[in-house]
Symmetry: C2
Subunit: 323 residues, 2 copies
């Protein structure tokens, strides 16, 4: 292969992780810097670019690279921009032409999209969705993200922002306030913070004794990890919290299936690793709420990419598509 | 052009309509037979095929045709089958290899999909969605159907049945029973029968005097057309019925936008012709419920294809895609 490598760059709210990846999905070299503390995109770039160029040199120079793929919050594929990403000082309320900036600094063509889309491309290229033409990636983390693949192509929509399934409204009446300012979004219930809110509600109702009050005396501090620990010990309240969360996901998935009838829904992130506590209610509700012709057809799969590498792999996969 | 014509066949619950169409979307010849009364698909075909062949001969023979496109309830694009279409005796509980049967009877290649998908391709080929790569077609009739176009291609999903947006669940709690057996589907509220049910509910609440009780003394018999007539005369209950229906559509559209971020949502069918009575609440609710980055971006358009021709045109458009 003329250009055997790609670079993947994952711009997260806290850290930026990057790595040199080969065609089999092996990360040959990697690095990391802090993302958030820079005042301007230029200041951030002044630290990031030398790090990227160092790895590029070590891999044999820019001629070895097919491209650089970037996953970033509010990343726009068509424009190569990061648009008003609220968690990063240098990108808040601004439109940053990030793809151009990185391309200029490295001499390598750049493709950019949001992090969940990058994850979907990663699964399709190196992961469990290899060979699938129709699937939906759902990332369950601090937020709930999604990347939708139809006919083997990522769905970007007319404006480059398609695939915001964390913000479909699953509770139309009296829904929880979401970080986006609206009410009842899937993310408000099924993100890590959503699960923590459910835990607080369930514990405060206090109908049943729960291990959670022993583990974390201050209800404000219960995390989804605590809920998992309590569930493993057989705590019925913790198990109910997962049931509640899983059923909401399953209901929402039934609607997603009515839209694009995917072969699989691939889950990624902390909550997805809660095993049958979450998987069983997801599957039950999905089957229960699916339209007859769709029942039992769509698989629920877990990403098999190692969590620490997935973001870099996903971003890097985008760079193979650069022609 | 070597093959200047296509044939469009629309298999409806009551009538089957068909026509010879040229590349500009002009219907040169057309015909019609009853769909429903035949016991077997073979008996139906024995009447339909000679009618099609008559038109084919008149147009200069099968060599003049690029293909035949068929829109049919529960039509599967990948398999060319009609699967368990409950409104047609000959297709109820059966899988009919309809594309093959028609191709065999006419000697012309056949493509088949469901009626709403055909409508979407019709709009993209001859109608208001010409040149659009991302849009959603919503047909508001006896049922609520949809055809979704992403990256210029129809979304068929992994099984050929994608795009059942009439069956996303818009009321998760205490939803109306839908014809599909589940509760709270969009179709149960925004189809013609859904609007009639809303009318019955609103009139029976009887808080305000309404023209509807004068126009149609038996509440069971109110149709969406009656509601329109009353709304035109300024009846506040009728106007509220449209507002209720439109807001439900707008809410649902906000979720569709979070999925595929289409350039436009194109409406077709009786209810869509109720003008501002329905359009204004749709637009208001859609904007209100849309995620910030999507607000004000997606157009709501009305199909401009004449209702009587749209089904044949839509089906015929599918036949241009046959290679």
């Amino acid at each position: 292969m003329d250009r055997p490598y790609v670079m993947g760059v994952d711009v997260g709210g806290t850290n930026t992780v990057f790595g040199v990846v080969d065609a089999r999905g092996v990360i040959l070299e990697s690095g990391k810097i802090k993302t958030g503390s820079y005042e301007t995109a230029e200041a951030y770039l002044a630290v990031l670019a030398p790090e990227l160029n160092k790895l590029i040199e070590r891999a044999g120079g820019k001629e070895k690279f097919n491209g650089i793929g970037i996953g970033a919050p509010n990343g726009n594929y068509y424009k190569g921009t990061i648009e008003d990403a609220p968690n990063m000082v240098w990108a808040k309320g601004k439109v940053i032409p990030f793809a151009k900036m990185i391309s200029y600094a490295t001499g390598i063509p750049v493709a950019l999209t949001n992090d969940a889309n990058a994850a979907a491309i990663g699964e399709m290229t190196y992961g469990i969705a290899k060979g699938m033409k129709d699937f939906i990636m759902i990332t369950l983390g601090t937020g709930v993200g999604s990347g939708i693949v139809v006919n083997g192509q990522l769905v970007y929509g007319h404006d480059g922002f398609a695939g915001e399934l964390g913000h479909v409204v699953v509770r139309k009446e009296n829904g929880r306030l979401c970080g986006c300012g609206r009410r009842g979004c899937l993310e408000a219930y099924t993100s890590a913070t959503g699960v923590a809110r459910t835990a607080k509600e369930f514990v405060e109702q206090g109908k049943v004794k729960t291990l959670l009050t022993e583990l974390v005396p201050d209800v404000e501090k219960i995390t989804s990890k605590d809920v998992y620990d309590a569930a493993v010990k057989g705590d019925s309240v913790a198990i109910d919290i997962f049931k509640y969360t899983g059923r909401l996901l399953g209901e929402a998935f039934a609607d997603f299936i009515a839209f694009s009838s995917p072969e699989a829904i691939v889950l990624f992130g902390g909550l997805a690793r809660s095993g049958e506590f979450i998987m069983q209610p997801i599957k039950e509700a999905m089957t229960e709420y699916s339209l007859g012709i769709f029942k039992g057809k769509t698989k629920i799969l877990l990403s098999e990419l190692p969590e620490s590498d997935a973001a870099v792999l996903g971003a890097s996969a985008l760079a193979w598509e650069i022609k």
